[in-house]
């Protein structure tokens, strides 16, 4: 198993309040990790810290991604190294077409890897293939980024972008929230199709429901800024049944 991401004793705070209090996690290539936990446990903070969102201060510990100090890189370089975040609340960018947005993103990432930019033809072919893969409607990619998209469309658009960018590590932050069962099935189907032996994903979720579709290799329980329990996929079912309170002690 090749190591992809290693988080060691990570401490992070926002507005002076410590949220992550010594979190450790190791993700190898080919693995799917689920992180579950109650509200306020630090799930989204973990996603924000790993991707470099402004306002989060790392006060201790480390995160190494493919041998590099991830936390030392600016957010765009983390993305170019292959870290992708599927946002819990994707923002709208009026006036910027999906095509233009994706083309800029894909070519910026290629540039970072010393690859030539894709030609318009190759790019459009790639768009078409990936749209089919995630069952994305043509009309959505002709619109501005997320503008006027429904909740489900926004989430599907996140998976579409993930398909386009082919990350080594995808972090799915509450991708299931606000999805009806059909949308959930399509989004999860997309994630499963994108699974490769050399990539990995961290699925952050509040409910066990998503894990019916995306089967994790490991389930971690995040509680008060630390991972307090790790198990197989059966742990998710146990949590669903018992809630989180039994872990407090």
């Amino acid at each position: 198993m090749k190591e992809l991401l290693t988080i060691t004793d990570l401490h992070a705070s926002i507005n002076g309040k410590e949220i992550l209090k010594g979190l450790s996690l190791r993700v190898n290539e080919g693995e799917v990790h689920a992180i579950m936990g109650p509200n306020g446990a630090g799930k989204s903070t973990l996603a924000s810290v790993l991707t470099g969102r402004d306002g989060y201060v790392v006060t201790g510990g480390s995160a190494t991604f493919r041998g590099k100090d991830l936390l030392a890189l600016p957010p765009e370089d983390r993305a170019r190294e292959g870290v992708f975040l599927s946002f819990q609340y994707p923002v709208e960018i009026p006036g910027v077409s999906m095509v233009n947005f994706m083309r800029t993103a894909v070519n910026e990432q290629r540039k970072y890897r010393n690859l030539e930019p894709l030609s318009a033809t190759d790019f459009l072919r790639m768009m078409r293939e990936k749209k089919e893969l995630v069952e994305m409607d043509n009309k959505l990619t002709n619109r501005s980024v997320n503008e006027g998209f429904s909740g489900g469309e926004k989430k599907r658009n996140e998976i579409f972008q993930m398909a386009m960018l082919e990350p080594r590590l995808a972090i799915l932050d509450e991708t299931d929230s606000g999805l009806d069962i059909d949308a959930l099935r399509i989004v999860a189907g997309g994630v499963n199709k994108l699974k490769r032996p050399d990539n990995a994903s961290i699925v952050i979720t509040h409910y066990q429901r998503l894990l019916d579709y995306i089967v994790p290799d490991f389930v971690h329980v995040l509680y008060d800024g630390r991972i307090v329990k790790t198990g197989g996929k059966e742990l998710a079912l146990e949590l669903e049944e018992k809630g989180y309170d039994w872990l407090k002690g």
């Binding site: 402004d54 765009e76 993305a79 923002v91 910027v96 233009n100 501005s144």
Partner: protein, 478 residues
């Protein structure tokens, strides 16, 4: 983070900020009847034009500079300005006679003066300081009866046309700066499109201020006769200088029955440095009249330069069923100030106007939209739709909207919409997370925001304008 990025913008260089070392013929500083007589004499003008100038000058002496705009204009010493400067080698008959330094200047600016090298479909009139240097494709256009030449040549060869239309849209009494221009204007472009002719190429004038302490007071007059069409482009740059330079131009457009004029500007005068030192004062009066029925006029402007901009390209809709459009992107950064917009004056029946204004403010700049929609009592069925959007980058800049409506006919429909938005940290982070740097993200978002206006520009200009927006705002996020 926002702080760092705001600091970065200030390092952006103004790439047109060079000066050209050429011999210049200049009149002494200051303004008086004698100076005006000298300008007129230098240009061998007919008596009626000298009288026009003197009337304007005497009127100007009774005027005060307007103070109503949302601008902080430092006092201007009108006696400390040179009103006439000309590259010494005057009025070249062919390209061989043009000072090679001048040719180099326009080459550096990307303005092609050699006709064989010119992009297909664009004729250029290049104006340096006070005189027109060279007009290309004059002969090709003449075959169609189109007149495209410097204003001075028009006075010499087509005095009747000039006399008939000069001051007919912007009278010399119009406003302080227009009056000043009427007294001292030096050169500019003149266009006449005869009846039934569609001008086959874009006409373009390129203005360049070079000499020091010099004001540029150009005058453009465009007349589109019945059933004709022309698309006209205007570009401007100036060297970087510590002192402020005054630019007070007039553009007059007359659109006859069934004719159409499209006027596009990409204004990139030197905006001053990051501390607000230097830069051009751009006080311009632009107005067109849709004189005949079904006449159409559109103004498209991308304003990125100048320390202070005071400019309201306007339209008088006199002919029935005539229509006018105003599309504007105005960008201000650092200490730039802009007060810009339009006036749509509906006189004829079923006249229509549309206003789309996109303001972008960054740094410590102030950006105002000021627009008037007036519907007179005979303008049965007049319609206007105005949309004014403001985009703020950072929290030290200002955006202001001053819409005025003055409607005297019950059948008129006048609509106004306005929005103000900011580029949010979330939008920037979203782009970052996809591998797009903050600077590119701002460029992407700003160009998306301004797209509707940029799309109205002729192709080559649109590409330039997009780059210009990105350069002007490089890195400015809040």
């Amino acid at each position: 983070m926002a702080e760092d990025i705001l600091d970065q913008i200030t390092n952006e260089e103004y790439k047109y900020g060079f000066t050209t070392d050429i011999e210049t013929d200049v009149l002494p500083k200051g303004l008086s009847e004698d100076i005006i007589r000298l300008i007129s004499a230098k240009k061998h003008e007919p008596e009626w034009l000298l009288q026009f100038r003197l009337k304007a000058y005497r009127h100007w002496l009774t005027q005060e500079m307007p103070r109503w705009a949302h601008l902080d204009i430092p006092p201007i010493d009108y006696q400390d300005i040179i009103y006439y400067a000309a590259p010494r080698k005057n009025a070249p008959q062919s390209l061989d006679e043009v000072d090679p330094e001048l040719l180099k200047t326009f080459d550096k600016l990307g303005i092609p003066l050699e006709e064989q090298k010119t992009l297909s479909g664009m004729a250029v009139d290049a104006v340096m300081d006070s005189v027109s240097v060279k007009t290309t494709f004059k002969d090709t256009l003449a075959e169609l009866g189109i007149i495209f030449c410097s204003f001075s040549e028009a006075v010499e060869h087509h005095p009747d046309l000039v006399q008939k239309y000069l001051g007919s849209v912007v009278p010399y009494t119009d406003n302080f700066f227009a009056t000043l221009n009427s007294a001292v204007f030096s050169d500019g472009s003149f266009v006449y499109i005869p009846k039934g002719v569609r001008c086959p190429m874009e006409l373009s004038t390129y203005f360049r201020i070079n000499a020091m302490n010099t004001g540029q007071f150009e005058r453009t007059l465009i007349v589109a006769d019945e059933d004709s069409y022309v698309s006209y482009l205007e570009g401007c740059t100036a060297p970087m200088r510590d002192e402020n330079q005054l630019h007070a131009a007039i553009v007059e457009i007359v659109v006859m029955k069934n004719a159409e004029v499209k006027y596009s500007t990409v204004q990139n005068w030197y905006p001053g440095d990051k501390d607000g030192k230097g830069g051009i004062y751009n006080f311009v009066t632009k107005r067109g009249i849709c004189k005949g029925d079904n006449a159409r006029l559109s103004w498209t402007q991308v304003e990125t330069g100048s320390a202070i901009t005071w400019k309201y390209p306007s339209c008088i809709l006199q002919g029935d069923n005539s229509s006018a459009e105003f599309y504007s992107v105005a960008v201000t950064n650092n200490y730039q100030q802009a007060d810009t917009g339009t006036k749509m004056i509906h006189l004829g029946r079923n006249t229509r106007s549309r206003i789309l204004s996109k303001g972008i403010s960054a740094g410590r700049s102030q950006n105002s939209y000021r627009g008037l929609v007036r519907v007179n009592k005979n303008a049965e069925g007049a319609r206007n739709f105005s949309q004014c959007d403001s985009l703020l980058l950072g929290d030290r800049c200002g955006a202001h909207t001053f819409p005025y409506m003055d409607v005297h006919n019950d059948t008129a429909v006048v609509e106004h919409e306005a929005t103000t938005s900011k580029i949010s940290e979330d939008q920037i982070f979203y782009c970052n997370q996809r591998g797009i740097s903050t600077e590119d993200a701002v460029g992407l978002i700003v160009n998306g925001y301004a797209k509707e206006v940029i799309n109205k520009l002729p192709m080559e200009f649109a590409v330039e304008a997009q780059k210009l927006l990105q350069i002007t705002l490089e890195g400015s996020v809040g």
